[in-house]
Symmetry: C2
Subunit: 306 residues, 2 copies
């Protein structure tokens, strides 16, 4: 089996490093960070934290180096999806490609370029420590299933999920993976941008009465859109938010980290995704639209010279 | 005539400096900034910019120094209204007090402490350059009228308005000053916090399609509340917003200046005022509530140690 990880940042590296431990799997890591690529090729890819290992995927920033693959796992930030799959599409001319990205709308883009697509959702998180070294901050499961309009076969879903599970990343193959995806989407869209705009850690934001009410308003819109799509959520996003308050009170949302570092965010795939699917299904999403506008404005302000 | 300016910051100083030019008016300036008070008493109060003058109000940070006054002009930030009028109420035991502050709800607080109240709205703006020296950045009119539940007489409104007009601040006495007040309130509530959250100058914010749509959504809620209150707006807030884009493209909203300086904002009197009057009149204001929550959260984050 040959697998290419498209976008080998913090999340992609978790997949690449685990899979590359398996003798029967040839792993390619495609990433534009040349320092990271060079470090992986020189010394291997190191994980620390929740998992501690070193393995040896092939890394490259040139898609032409990569031979035809059976599977792709797209793990770029949502805003880089199109550029990344456009560059690597040839590798998957007869392959199946799974998004494990945040947000809604990534699979739709991938499906423009490759024959068979899976939707995926992953909970493990990490951050790059130095080129070639990623810290895994949290564990958790991954869910995969066929992307309905242009599906990979369930046989393919099972093969990839089993490979990942064997490699140490527990992955569930599902006929309908939308529930897991939308549960995480709604959670992220309600908490991430609120953290970025208020600059509050998750637990502190939850303890501010008005802020918590806004989070619930964002959740309610997302749940209404999921209902209209006929998606049954895996779990109640409100409970996930309260649970995260218990276990990660001081956690700063990744989108807050993005804006503090002057990076563009995934808001278009999160709140923008809820707004787009809401519009397509006549479900009003004014709060998600407001949040999208504010984050987009904040991103734009980072491009201005003060 | 004896007039006390309650809160002699950037706005209060415009009123104090103009009125103190008039021989027949004794002006007292009450402010807690001792350096500013001392500078005024030592060298007078200087205006520069749109108007250039030096005059000599009596300044104090101790309300007991102030003799009984015919009129009060409250010009503190909205969040200091109660403390300021509580301290100075004795001065106005037989006086009429006018708020020229931003937001909705200030007159209600003042009316708890003094016998006769006016609602006012002022457009001139300025900033403190050094203690005793304020730059007037923009000119413009001031509107005054009786505060309906506990009104000053129209005779009093006319006397104060004429004194200000003679002193060089054009002021209109109106039977119903709510239209001017709510026009400015809706304008400020739609533009100020959006500037603070996105960090964009006014004109740039207007040119971002999604951000402009959010501003319009905030305006529409404010207009609906004003309608429910039977208030006829002076002018269309949308037109004011477009006009400000023309004449003040690079202007950073005062609330953006507040959050960049780590100061608390007037959001509770702006968006919070619209929400409160909306609730009292069964008009939904979800966008103003969302904005209020975000600014309040941002204010709270400024109090945390990072």
């Amino acid at each position: 089996m040959r697998v290419c990880i498209v976008g080998c940042g913090a999340i992609g590296s978790l997949f690449a490093a685990h899979l590359a431990r398996m003798k029967e799997i040839e792993v390619w890591a495609y990433d534009l960070d040349q320092q990271h690529v060079d470090a992986i090729n020189a010394n291997g890819l190191r994980l620390s934290g929740v998992n501690d290992l070193v393995s040896h995927p092939h890394a490259t920033s040139n898609a032409e180096d990569i031979p035809a693959c059976d599977f792709g796992i797209v793990a770029t930030k949502a805003l880089h999806t199109r550029a990344a799959i456009e560059a690597t599409a040839g590798v998957f001319a007869d392959g199946a490609v799974c998004s494990v990205q945040n947000g809604a709308g990534n699979e739709e883009i991938i499906a423009e370029y490759v024959p068979r697509v899976m939707r995926g959702t992953t909970f493990p998180a990490g951050h790059i420590v130095t080129p070639g070294h990623v810290a895994q901050d949290t564990g958790g499961k991954t869910w995969m299933g066929p992307f309905e309009p242009k599906p990979a076969s369930m046989e393919e879903v099972h093969r990839l999920a089993e490979a990942l599970s064997c490699a140490g990343m527990e992955t569930l193959a599902m006929e309908d993976a939308r529930g897991a995806q939308w549960t995480k989407l709604i959670f992220n869209a309600a908490t991430n941008p609120v953290g970025a705009l208020t600059r509050l850690p998750h637990g502190v934001a939850c303890d501010q009465q008005r802020v918590r009410a806004l989070i619930s308003g964002l959740v309610a819109e997302g749940v209404a859109v999921a209902d209209a799509l006929g998606i049954e959520l895996d779990s109640d996003p409100e409970k996930l938010i309260d649970h995260a308050r218990e276990v990660a009170y001081d956690h700063k949302a990744s989108m807050l980290q993005d804006v503090q570092a002057g990076r563009r965010t995934e808001v278009a795939a999160l709140n923008g995704g809820i707004v787009a699917f809401g519009e397509a299904n006549q479900i009003p999403t004014p709060l998600n639209a407001a949040i999208w506008a504010l984050i987009e404005g904040l991103e734009h302000s980072m491009t201005l010279n003060d």
